[in-house]
Symmetry: C2
Subunit: 199 residues, 2 copies
């Protein structure tokens, strides 16, 4: 990686961290320049517009998400153990102190009715996340943990919904109730996915 590319990665990493506190819409070239102690014109030369900065920040955040939620879970055995690890890492990601929750959930609320490249990026990332959950459920079928009749896309929709329910409740209450509720809901969802007639 050349020096220019390294600088860009470092800037975007900082931008992603900043956006978890300000919201993606609160992230502008001016705000980021102040945070980095750089000149606005220098940052403008890197990104050219607020929209490009926002899109690239989402892409940097997706890298962070992969590093903190997905990759550690891949060390767990495929199937239910891996899915449970993903859920645990996601809760830590979304529930971290001093943040506006999950950047992707927050940014979706901000941008879902604003056509453009930011919304397109979010939609692509959401599809990728649902596909990851669906594929993980398919692995759980292959491992014999889940029934072969399971609709894995429906599973992904329901698991994602439960994570949103946790996010919403946790952001309002900040207490342990939301985590306990999610844990029980996940147990019930997983129980409903098991092969029929097996122990």
């Amino acid at each position: 990686m050349g020096k220019g590319a390294e600088t860009r990665v470092a800037i975007l990493d900082r931008a992603a961290a900043l956006a978890t506190r300000t919201g993606l819409d609160g992230l502008s070239i001016g705000v980021l320049a102040q945070d980095l102690g750089m000149s606005k014109s220098g940052l403008f030369a890197h990104f050219g517009s607020k929209e490009v900065l926002q899109v690239e920040t989402l892409e940097a955040a997706a890298q962070r998400f992969a590093d903190t939620v997905v990759r550690p879970a891949l060390k767990q055995p495929a199937g239910e153990p891996r899915l449970r690890a993903v859920i645990g890492h996601w809760m830590a990601w979304a529930g971290a102190q001093g943040r506006k929750g999950c950047l992707f959930v927050q940014a979706t609320a901000e941008f879902d009715d604003r056509p453009g490249s930011v919304r397109d990026t979010l939609a692509t990332q959401q599809d990728a996340w649902l596909s990851f959950l669906s594929d993980a459920a398919r692995r759980a079928i292959n491992e014999g943990h889940f029934s072969s009749n399971l609709d894995t896309e429906q599973f992904a929709f329901e698991l994602h919904a439960l994570l949103l329910g946790f996010h919403h409740a946790h952001r309002m209450t900040r207490d342990a109730d939301a985590g306990d509720r999610l844990a029980r809901a996940v147990d019930r969802l997983f129980d409903s996915c098991r092969p029929q007639g097996d122990a």
Copy 2:
């Protein structure tokens, strides 16, 4: 109701409709004055601050929510039919064209990390909604539709999560998939609530 109170109700009704398009945070005394063709100073005399306007707008929206989601469902028989009617009315409320989805979901994303009277109002309204769902599930137990072992607060958390999942997916995709996914998820949730061993 005196003339002053009537005017206030009419203004707040318009403010609630406006907030479903601008977001609650986009609702200011200036924006509302322009929408109503009133003077800013006249509106300021009514509300005194943006925060008071936002709180009263949420309260007006809760009246609308009661009129369009809750009250029509109360005409259905208690238990599962009433719960299904509530879900149907909620989907229409959250999915209406030209809106930013459900005002309460949207406003929660905007205000969940901003302590103050707006957030307090949202938290109280969310508690009331979850209590309503929990009470409706208790009625379903009394009617013999749901098992007496059901944890009705857990039921409310899970149903609310599924509604958020629909909201999120519908806002991104705008197609019928989200509605079909929600319908199937609700069927599965209700099936899991039924008395064991009964037909």
